[in-house]
Symmetry: C2
Subunit: 457 residues, 2 copies
């Protein structure tokens, strides 16, 4: 097929879909730092993690040596309902930009959750079901993860309790309604239903919540309820493992047409999409088989890679989770209230943090006004209204394509289009009305948030 004209959309056959996930950690010489028990500062053991997570997921979390882990048949069956996702050649965008660059994007938005989150949700629900659990708890910010998990739980007949960051709960009633369609219970966080929620409400009356706080509530409920475990949609190694299906499909599609990318660009909040998209490419890089520029894009208002520090930190506000070594802004960090573009977690996947620290990938931060400008441009040219999160990657892909225009280089750019923005129209409206602004944390803001890092002496 190498000389065929490349279609607008490359769809793999079902038979070409990956049968195993790829675990980047297996090919890393220096492994990501382990999760630590916040009390003893010793690496978390499987037994300890099993109180919070499903057993099989704990095994995946801790496994940094097995490169390929088989995708169970049931999960592959579910994947076939909405995957393979298309790898799109952005012919229209290229033409409009007048760039010699060749631009591809892997589009993960063609499912009702509206994003890539479903790839890990269905895996986590499957293992919970297999373990005979009654249900799972989780947090959600913008709502993509909560929606994905609701769909996955509905499929396997599991109960699903979602703690939704209060400001999102109020601003996005339709997201909440989609979760209800799939039978989930959605509680605004912080809530009076948990001890940590009550404590936070008492300390910060009127708070609109944060991801870190919603995580604490979800964990508390999971640990305190018979037959429940907690599940998380990003940051964790297991999540990156499941999301590798994005990168594996992308690589198979590129290989089919003999295309070798020069750079791979993805947005990064906790790292689930980026870690999945880059997995097989990073694998080649780690094994010395190929080289690629890999670029993480984050919001200037929540710049964990570009302005955070690499240290052990709390994963949640309530400090009930294990400590993770990661690029972090401090677990108290909350992006400015005018930030609409998602990707608002204070830390970053330990695996990606270690790869970044080893200089195997780059990071860049972008302002949300520039992100929405790129989002609207892309919507008009490529016909897909992108999620604000995904639009971070669009912004940098366009910037790189314009550099190619200036230099005349015919580079091949691949980026991850993680989802659609149909539930983000309040943010688009702000942008259209000229009411969107950028608030970038000062060095002082960051120093204040950082002061609460755990003492590791």
């Amino acid at each position: 097929m190498k000389n065929e004209k490349i279609p607008y959309k490359i769809y793999l056959q079902e038979s070409e879909m990956p049968k195993s996930w790829y675990n980047m950690r297996a090919d890393m010489k220096k492994k990501p730092a382990p999760l630590l028990n916040p009390g003893t500062k010793e690496p978390m053991k499987a037994e300890e993690l099993s109180a919070v997570f499903c057993d099989e997921l704990v095994a995946q979390e801790l496994d940094d040596t097995t490169p390929y882990i088989e995708i169970p048949e049931e999960i592959r069956g579910f994947y076939k309902m909405y995957r393979p996702s298309p790898l799109v050649r952005a012919y229209c965008l290229e033409e409009k930009l007048g760039t010699p660059a060749k631009i591809y994007y892997k589009f993960e938005g063609n499912n009702t959750s509206g994003s890539h989150k479903l790839n890990s949700a269905i895996a986590q629900a499957y293992y919970a079901k297999k373990q005979g659990l009654k249900g799972v708890t989780t947090e959600t910010g913008a709502g993509q993860w909560g929606t994905a998990l609701s769909m996955a739980c509905s499929y396997f007949g599991l109960d699903c309790k979602v703690f939704m960051v209060k400001c999102s709960y109020e601003q996005k009633p339709f997201r909440r309604e989609v979760m209800r369609t799939y039978g989930a219970t959605v509680t605004p966080s912080p809530s009076e239903t948990t001890n940590i929620g009550k404590k936070i409400l008492a300390e910060h009356p009127g708070t609109t919540g944060s991801l870190g706080c919603a995580i604490s509530e979800a964990v508390e409920v999971a640990v305190g309820s018979e037959g429940y475990r907690y599940v998380l949609g990003s940051v964790l190694n297991q999540v990156l493992l499941h999301q590798s299906v994005i990168g594996l499909e992308t690589k198979t599609a590129l290989d089919k047409y003999g295309i070798k990318p020069d750079m791979i660009i993805g947005c990064a909040g906790g790292g689930s999409n980026l870690g999945g998209l880059i997995a097989p490419f990073m694998g080649e890089k780690l094994r010395g088989e190929a080289d690629y520029r890999i670029i993480a894009v984050e919001p200037a208002s929540c710049p964990s890679f570009t302005r955070g520090i690499y240290a052990y930190d709390f994963c949640d506000t309530g400090m009930v989770c294990p400590l993770a070594k990661m690029y972090t802004l401090g677990s108290d960090f909350i992006p400015s209230a005018n930030h609409a573009g998602g990707l608002r977690y204070h830390g970053m996947s330990s695996t990606l943090s270690e790869l970044y620290d080893q200089k195997l990938m780059e990071a860049v931060s972008v302002k949300q006004t520039d992100v929405f400008e790129a989002a609207e441009y892309f919507a008009r040219v490529e016909g897909i209204l992108p999620a604000p999160e995904s639009s971070h990657a669009i912004r940098v892909a366009i910037d790189e394509a314009l550099k190619c225009k200036a230099t005349g280089e015919e580079k091949t750019i691949v980026f991850g289009l993680t989802g659609t923005g149909y539930f983000d129209m309040v943010a688009y409206e702000k942008f259209h009305d000229g009411e969107m602004s950028d608030t970038i944390p000062t060095d002082e803001d960051l120093a204040v948030a950082r002061a609460k890092l755990p003492n590791m002496d």
Copy 2:
């Protein structure tokens, strides 16, 4: 390929996409009745229609003899951005229902407009551009058509003025915002910007508008503005022609795997989706080459096929449009305010009306509470949150599959899943909260509406 296992989703290659639209009328022995000039009651001539519609679209509207009309290269290019759409084998639905029936659906919701409407919008925008126009005007109810047209106009650099039925404008601010993202101007209808709008507001202060009224406003603005024409998203022959791309792709996909459907089911408001989906199948039926059951599904609260009469009627409230012979409830008919499920036009495509009158297709009406029950069931099982409109077809597909379960028959059912329900969560919320009810027009209601039919003596 005939013996291969049928995949969950059949995607055609780009090279297999239709190169021509199919015009059912060419194969009809008795043709649909012509549009009439409301003054003279004589068939509308091309010159008369050209004041309202683009020239090439007028030609398509009047052409009832050419079976295949080539799809221009530029439109095929745009189609490739979001087509071919998948023909999905509903394995999960079949299993959940425990039916021996084989169920397929053609899914048209994987584009930002969220529905099949884009198939005709891009064609109409293309011909407007080719004619050197500045822009187009239209009406939109639920918003799918307005969104689709905004996208198409943005692609070709045309101005787009949308009159949106006021109650939708207020209930669906996000739909409006998507249209703004694509640069369209959206005005709630009735408005003070047109004579007919002012008149209707004076006669019915506080009215929340109707499709018929929004059409009148859009036509008035088109006719009164230099370089503008009016475009319509349903009912017209030209729209059914463009939408035949749905049926042609469906038929190619089925043929590839040697599948012959027993019945084809589609929702029907004005007939755009149904007319497109059934086109090549009806063609075979008209030519005596094959037989299929073809079922139109409409809301019990707006039952133009099942309880309307076949007569010449006004297409709009302001009576500025040509008269069309169709199954109609009368141009003043407005479905009950509690009707949330779309498909609220008072009439039906003349072509489909004639086919129905010739008993070449069936029609059934369903209650919206039953429709939303089917919608939620489908969302949970197949992972796609359907539009209320599309869910009318789901309801009947499920009912037919359950009949097969009772009889043991292995029938093959194909239905049209026209779009997604992401902007319809207010209706879903009503359903979840048990606040959805059914108001079915009484015979008296219908008699009142019918009294205003034009005098054809």
